[in-house]
């Protein structure tokens, strides 16, 4: 048996689920996992391994490494801007949702901001699981319409003469913002530089990174 892609039926199923699913999120997910395990469709230990992978191994530290390398190595930065999937794969970071990655660079004149207004598309293999605000209606609705207002809520003031470019992830392309290297960070090692790169700066809700 496979899907018939019957949208009317799915709308009906959602109505049933609305009243039939357990009352709390935790219980609903537990019911789903139990059912999938009972039916031989998932292995709970494999779920454990995926959780571990996206808790300890795959996350914004990968993106930060890419950014730090681009700051230090002009040739790497050139490759990253021209063919991001190949450039992140040099570090072994190509993976889920990054086969069509594009890197957009902040400059003194340009600030980039990434959103997915239609769902919650995010470059998983390089930034990990998306933050809660990225998936919430407030951000998804306003990032395209009032990016400066959204940025102000993140404590980021953008001068009027800086152009804000918002990237709405409507296709399978995914975006990573290359933030500017903070002033005074010359002479720092790649490892030290990665510590300066916040997750939010790679989405575009942080701009002025500081040397700590």
């Amino acid at each position: 048996m496979s899907s018939k892609f019957d949208a009317e039926k799915v709308a009906e199923i959602h109505q049933h689920l609305h009243s039939h699913l357990p009352s709390e999120s935790a219980l609903r997910v537990k019911a789903l996992e139990t059912l999938l395990v009972d039916k031989g469709l998932v292995n709970p230990q494999t779920i454990d391994a995926w959780v571990e992978a996206y808790t300890d191994q795959i996350g914004p530290k990968r993106g930060a490494r890419v950014v730090a390398r681009a700051w230090l190595d002009a040739e790497y930065k050139k490759r990253l801007l021209e063919d991001a999937p190949a450039a992140i794969d040099e570090l072994g970071y190509l993976g889920k949702a990054t086969a069509h990655l594009k890197v957009v660079e902040n400059t003194d004149q340009v600030h980039n901001l990434v959103v997915c207004t239609l769902c919650s598309c995010y470059p998983f293999s390089i930034l990990g699981v998306a933050p809660a605000w990225y998936k919430a209606a407030a951000y998804r609705s306003r990032a395209v319409r009032d990016p400066r207002g959204v940025l102000a809520e993140f404590g980021v003031a953008i001068d009027d003469d800086i152009e804000v470019r918002v990237w709405d992830s409507t296709a399978e392309l995914r975006y990573l913002v290359l933030p500017q290297r903070p002033p005074g960070a010359g002479g720092m090692s790649e490892d030290a530089l990665t510590e300066l790169v916040s997750r939010n700066s790679m989405i575009g809700t942080d701009r002025n990174l500081i040397k700590r």
């Binding site: 892609f5 999120s25 999938l36 494999t46 391994a49 959780v51 209606a137 809700t205």
Partner: protein, 222 residues
């Protein structure tokens, strides 16, 4: 579909709950849902069908329930639609019933999962015979209307004038992929000025870029 999911430009959702916390999961159930979504067998679905099934959640549930909860509800819906489970299965003590598999998937280790993530770098593009209809720098107009199925042209860009900024090759067309049909069509990065999209953006130099398929666009004859 003109559903609740199409949030770009909608008003009234309040300020962003700003958070610099980089913890991936805040509840154990969120982590379980993430992990099972990565690894459970699925009934021959496409990512676009899954997205459409999420869009079909009733507006009150879509907005009112936590994010990963909506993943779980979408998963339930896709399995039930395909006949792999029933609504009545939910909460049964032993729910093997319909669709039980004799060869459950093996337990994967962390290393195996990391390799799988790497091999999950799916590409959605393909070579096609046709040449792209639009050239970089060309002015285009986005379609004025959507349709009842899945589409990736947000309401806020419909009927608006933009400029082709890049051609990204021919990508799987989501509108068809959500019906289980795979065709490839050129997908362009299209630049819209904030002024074109929003009346209140008058005088602002800001831009919004969307990745849009050829059939969503027509040449601007002006």
């Amino acid at each position: 579909m003109d559903g609740i999911h199409d949030l770009g430009g909608k008003q009234g959702y309040g300020p962003v709950e700003v958070d610099a916390d980089e913890t991936p999961f805040h509840h154990d159930w969120e982590a379980r849902e993430w992990g099972l979504a990565q690894s459970a067998r699925t009934p021959g679905i496409t990512i676009d069908w899954w997205r459409h099934c999420r869009e079909l959640i009733s507006p009150e549930d879509y907005l009112g329930r936590p994010y990963f909860d909506s993943w779980a509800q979408t998963d339930f819906a896709t399995y039930i639609e395909a006949g792999w489970m029933t609504v009545d299965d939910i909460g049964r003590f032993d729910a093997r019933g319909v669709g039980a598999e004799d060869d459950p998937p093996p337990a994967l280790t962390l290393q195996q999962v990391l390799q799988e993530d790497h091999s999950h770098a799916h590409r959605f593009d393909a070579e096609v015979d046709a040449e792209p209809l639009f050239a970089i720098g060309q002015q285009v107009i986005a379609a004025s209307h959507g349709h009842a199925g899945h589409t990736r042209l947000p309401q806020y860009a419909r009927g608006r004038r933009g400029t082709i900024q890049a051609c990204n090759g021919a990508h799987v067309l989501p509108d068809e992929s959500a019906r289980g049909v795979e065709i490839h069509q050129y997908c362009y990065s299209v630049m819209f000025s904030a002024e074109e999209l929003w009346a209140e953006a008058s005088g602002r130099r800001d831009k919004v870029f969307l990745d849009l398929w050829e059939s969503y666009l027509s040449a601007d004859k002006q």
